[in-house]
């Protein structure tokens, strides 16, 4: 179980780090002013600094709220049941992205829909396989044929000569 306090704190720390990285990256091109106005790094530098300062602001507000015992920071951000639902949805989604990256979008489409329907939706093998293949086929017709936009392909698609 995660309370809002920890979620707020962690998020603010991440945005703080992001701000500092931007500040660090901006230093490469000069952050000062010259005769033609600000140097290329100035805008990102101040943006990064602003993010960092505002993140510290959120941290301070969050800590003050906790110190004062405000109800909002003690709210539950994520409990076990909800986290379970999120993971059950998110894990196959990441799987889809991974398979897409290594084996192409069509293979990933079939694998993902098959998995979701068979193991999460409780459909039979036949229906699941048929729907998954049909979805991949529809994507192929709509994107590659109709809109002439190629989707990400891997070795399997190349083997089939798509």
């Amino acid at each position: 179980m995660i309370t809002r306090f920890w979620a707020e704190t962690a998020t603010a720390l991440v945005t703080l780090a992001f701000g500092l990285i931007v500040v660090w990256g901006a230093r490469e091109f000069g952050i000062g002013w010259d005769s033609s106005g600000p140097q290329p790094g100035a805008f990102p530098f101040y943006t990064g600094a602003l993010i960092a300062i505002a993140s510290v602001g959120t941290l301070v507000v969050t800590f003050v709220q906790r110190w004062r015992g405000a109800a909002i920071v003690e709210e539950i951000f994520l409990d076990r049941e909800r986290a379970g639902r999120v993971v059950a949805f998110f894990a196959p989604l990441v799987g889809f992205v991974l398979i897409t990256a290594f084996a192409g979008m069509y293979v990933a489409t079939i694998a993902y829909l098959l998995f979701a329907m068979r193991f999460q939706g409780g459909y039979g093998w036949l229906v699941s396989v048929a729907s998954a293949v049909a979805a991949a086929f529809v994507f192929y017709v709509v994107f590659e044929r109709f809109f002439q936009i190629g989707l990400l392909k891997g070795p399997v698609e190349r083997l089939l000569g798509l």
Partner: protein, 505 residues
């Protein structure tokens, strides 16, 4: 009467069979993305955008704006029938719309929603017709410092009026600006913030951000809630629609007030979501029997719907005339205009009057088409929601990632979309406003260019922002917007009260 003549010319551009068909297609796709949770107007438009790169700009913008109207309507359908807002901006419609549906008055609720939404949208479009030429003319006097001042005002109002914690609004906005400056710097030609990663050379597209933040992020939230559709069946009969339409004039005051609220919130970047909530609250407060609100009061449907659509269409005014989008969806469309090689802002009225007035004329037609189409297709889209979510959710995920990939055909983009999905989920849960992030990504470069050009004029002196009455006034308004609520909310936060209404949409 110049505007009327231009508008008539616009109708001659928009009124072709090809365009009417595009409108219908756009509206249907829009209702679909509006109905499906996780897909909304901003990301429906983002997903369609890469497919319009080869179309001519007039057809493309007609398709995208129609999709936008459709999405706004679709969101209300699910709010009323399923108590699930398909769009953040139709949350307020669930308060009275769903109770009405449960009492067997679904057709009445839907008809009220769609008709009042149509009226709200028309009010917004009429305003655009009357004012856009004037605003654009006025804006022709702007040079870089004035532009920067207007950008500054826009962002200041997000921080000041957004309703979210100002710190969070600043973080969201800053992240957008930082991401916008990744890649080639258009003034100096330097490659910035790539940290020697080649994939970052071309920058990060705002389309990927929208798809991740609104699409994947929204889906994660929906799944967390453990979504179940328990809908009310609805058959829409023409007779019932007409009978409801006949009752509509009785609510003229609510319609008028809600249109005004919507228009105001649309022009200032409050957005449709804030507009619908505000309008609902106002209707309840000024009603003679506020106790009936929340239990199926028609005015509780009419007020948020009118304001939602008035805001949605009015948001196009600053986008067209000033190059400043009034909502996340308008920001995406403005990005589209820039990709098609058009430069949103006052010059557009001079360089491409056919485009501008064609678009404005299409808004009239598009909304009429949308009302008819949405009434005709309620049963169809309601049945789509009966498809189990274990099939629909993966399909939405796939469409989001395919959309992300089609933006630039880069594998890297699907990882970026995934990352934005996680960011979107966390940001929404913690009330970080997302709209400023998108806005900053779209107009970040322009704001920076305006600032640096001003600095070139003034040889590096900030005093240029106080150099003439116009720019001083604009900066003054910006600073006021920024500072007053900031102090107010700081005081409130320290007292331990918190404000959690985030500006979305």
């Amino acid at each position: 009467m110049d505007n009327i003549a231009s508008l008539m010319h616009g109708f001659s551009v928009a009124l072709t069979t090809h365009h009417i068909l595009l409108m219908m297609a756009g509206v249907l796709l829009g209702i679909l993305v509006g109905v499906l949770p996780g897909l909304g107007a901003p990301n429906g438009v983002s997903l369609m955008l890469p497919l319009t790169f080869t179309m001519d700009p007039v057809s493309a913008i007609i398709l995208l704006t129609s999709l936008y109207w459709g999405a706004l309507f679709g969101g209300s359908t699910t709010s009323i029938l399923f108590n699930i807002p398909g769009e953040p901006s139709s949350v307020a419609t669930t308060f009275d719309g769903h109770p009405m549906a449960k009492q067997g008055r679904a057709t009445e609720a839907l008809s009220f929603a769609f008709l009042s939404a149509g009226i709200g949208a028309l009010a917004g479009v009429i305003l655009i017709t009357l004012l856009s030429g004037w605003v654009a003319n006025f804006a022709l006097r702007f040079s870089s410092p004035e532009y920067f001042a207007v950008y500054f005002m826009t962002f200041a109002s997000f921080i000041g009026l957004g309703g979210a914690s100002p710190f969070k609004a600043i973080v969201a906005m800053g992240v957008g600006f930082a991401l916008a400056s990744v890649g080639m710097d258009s003034v100096s030609g330097n490659i910035r913030l790539t940290f020697e990663f080649d994939v970052l050379l071309a920058g990060i597209s705002f389309l990927i951000a929208v798809i991740g933040l609104f699409g994947i992020g929204e889906l994660l939230l929906t799944m967390e809630e453990g979504l179940r559709f328990e809908g009310v069946a609805a058959k829409v009969r023409v007779r019932d629609v007409l009978r409801t339409a006949a009752k509509l004039p009785r609510y003229w005051l609510a319609l008028l007030r809600s249109s005004a609220i919507g228009i105001w919130m649309g022009i200032t970047p409050g957005g449709p979501t804030a507009a619908s909530f505000m309008s609902y609250a106002m209707a309840k407060r000024s009603s003679r029997n506020p106790a009936k609100f929340g239990k199926g009061e028609p005015e509780g449907v009419i007020a948020p719907e009118t304001a939602d659509h008035a805001a949605g269409s009015a948001a196009m005014l600053p986008m067209l005339a000033l190059g400043i989008p009034g909502s996340a969806t308008a920001a995406v469309m403005m990005g589209g205009l820039m990709i098609w090689g058009l430069n949103p802002g006052p010059m557009l009225f001079i360089e491409r009057p056919d485009f501008v007035w064609g678009l404005i004329a299409s808004m009239y037609l598009g909304n009429v088409v949308a009302v008819v189409v949405v009434l005709a297709t309620v049963p169809l889209f309601a049945s789509i929601l009966r498809i189990p979510f274990s099939i629909v959710a993966p399909l939405i995920v796939m469409i989001c990632f395919i959309g992300a990939y089609t933006v630039a055909s880069k594998e890297f983009d699907i990882w970026v979309a995934l990352a934005f999905g996680i960011v979107g989920y966390v940001f929404k849960k913690l009330d970080y406003p997302i709209a400023p992030l998108i806005l900053a990504m779209v107009i970040g470069d322009k704001a920076e260019d305006a600032f640096r050009q001003s600095m070139i004029f003034s040889q590096g002196s900030l005093s240029i922002f106080w150099s003439n009455p116009l720019v001083t006034t604009l900066m003054g308004i910006g600073l006021t917007l920024l500072l007053l609520p900031l102090i107010g909310s700081a005081v409130r936060t320290l007292r331990g009260r918190s404000v959690t209404v985030a500006a979305k949409g």
